[in-house]
Amino acid sequence: MSEKLTIGFLPLVDACLPILARELGFAEEDGLDLELTRDVTWATVLDRLLYGHTDAAHMLAPLAIATTMGIGRPPQPLAAPFVLGLNGNAITLRTELADAVCPEPVLGDPAAVGAALAKQAEKAAANGRTLRFGVVHRHSSHNYMLRYWLSACGIRPDVDIEIVTVAPPFSADALESGEIDGSCVGEPWNSVAVDRGAGRIVLATAQIWRRGVEKVLAVKEARLTERSEAVARLIRAMRQAVKWLVDPANRESAAAILARPEYLDGSAEVIGRAIADEIVLGAGAGASHYPDFMFQYNEAANFPWISQAKWLYSQLILWENKPFDAADADRAGRVFRPDVYRQALRGTGDLLPGASSKVEGSIGGPLAVGAEQGRITLSANGFFDGRVFDPDEIEAYVAGQR
């Protein structure tokens, strides 16, 4: 008999893997009956996970870490055995601001756009205004990537620029009404703002950190132990789904499934563009192809590297003004579960990295690394400012960013 597993999600393109695992029958073939529960806020996705309405959830990676550490509520240990995708977010600015900092309708150079934005922030301050940016959640990669970029460009978040939380479906409205000057949000919400003429996309987060971790599949640690076999089946089904998804021949079918009312309830055309890494930067512009925009399959992209979790921890303590604590860092790192990923996929022929942690941002070009069998080739994974993150040197890294 098949086993039932309930998964919570928000209607975003990167919720695609559990949806496709169900709709394409990969889960069912492996004896798994997937049920999906849609919500409109991360708070509710998290509550349902913590109180057992769901077994697993599509979740912001930093939120899984903050929940485990007990920030804002009592700690509840979560486990992330699968990364649902890398990047996939973009920075969209109000049209006038975009014209001032990135005059050409192309993805800008992060350092140049940042330098120009610093001038605009100064100009606004001289007029008694503070530029305001919206992110989807305080504990989100969007927030950390935006802050990383701003601070590396000499703009102090919370001082020179205000950062507030805006729910993704309202970010186009907020740009239009002038409530915010810019946003860092996932697809399809940048494209919605562009289509409505509310703003222009100036950067993809992949330009800030080429292999930045985004959403994960989160499970309560205790539930992972109880349902380890079902979670392993889910991991296998999602790996099959992602392999199918990245085949350009399947783009339209994938977009049509995701666009359904019970899933993203959106435009299949816009969703199809996001899947194909094509973005329309400004109203009336053609689609430009940026292959790293959302990265989901190759190079073991779904493998949960402990070092990714530790980078998120470093940014969490930096922006929430918490002291470094070796035990906390360790606990945050252990939220990511490469052991569970490996165990689920061993014997399927999938390439499994031999290491569980790496120095993030250190690869400049294609590099073959050890796998359990054979080699995996990783390509450039740098941060735009050339810094590298050594998971064993978190304190020094954070000190260098302050």
Binding site: V40, A43, T44, Y51, H53, P74, V136, R138, F170
Partner: protein
């Protein structure tokens, strides 16, 4: 105690509000509009905030409660660990509670219990309503099917109804389902004329 009920469903908010009035010394503020929500909350300075789980403003409000300096006293998610069961019950009912720092659990519990009961009551009410609407719709379909049969077959109303019932019994279906098929078929045929 100042209680803010944030709910875009005005009807549900009213039901919660009505229940909470029973608590002596409590002042209730209902916020159904998304517009200017944060500034309204800052004005109200609530001790307790009740919000439905489906509210799209939850992430924004949680962030505001956690970091805002506009509120004199910080508001936390209702997280006294000893009250885990109470939270679980509220999540099941579809309501989230946020409580100002320092408010003791014994004062909150009865309030939360009541909110949970009211949320459940509202859900039942909605189910009843949906059922009633369904029945109304069914009756409508049966009436329409009868009219179609009366016009096309020149039957009397009792004859038309008897025929619908006979078909339903023969095919082991509900009369409403047969009626719906008649109406649909009739609409399709009309398109050909």
């Amino acid at each position: 105690m100042r209680i803010a009920v944030i709910d875009e469903s005005r009807a549900r908010a009213t039901i919660i509000e009505e229940g909470l009035r029973a608590f002596e010394g409590s002042e209730i503020f209902v916020l159904s509009e998304r517009k200017a929500l944060l500034s309204r909350i800052a004005e109200i300075e609530p001790d307790i905030v009740l919000m439905d789980l489906g509210n799209p403003a939850r992430d924004v409000l949680e962030e505001y409660f956690a970091v805002s300096r506009a509120l004199a006293r910080p508001i936390a998610i209702f997280v006294d660990e000893s009250d885990d069961q109470a939270i679980a019950a509220s999540i099941d009912a579809g309501v989230s509670a946020y409580v100002v720092d320092g408010l003791s659990a014994p004062r909150i519990r009865p309030l939360l219990d009541l909110a949970v009961r009211r949320f459940h009551a509202f859900a039942r009410l909605e189910e009843d309503l949906a059922e009633a609407r369904g029945r109304l719709h069914e009756r409508d379909q049966i009436d329409q099917a009868k009219r179609i049969l009366m016009a096309e077959r020149r039957w009397t109303e009792p004859e038309a109804y008897a025929e619908l019932r006979r078909k339903a019994m023969d095919s082991n279906k509900r009369i409403a389902a047969i009626a719906e098929a008649v109406v649909t078929a009739h609409e399709l045929m009309k398109g050909d004329q």
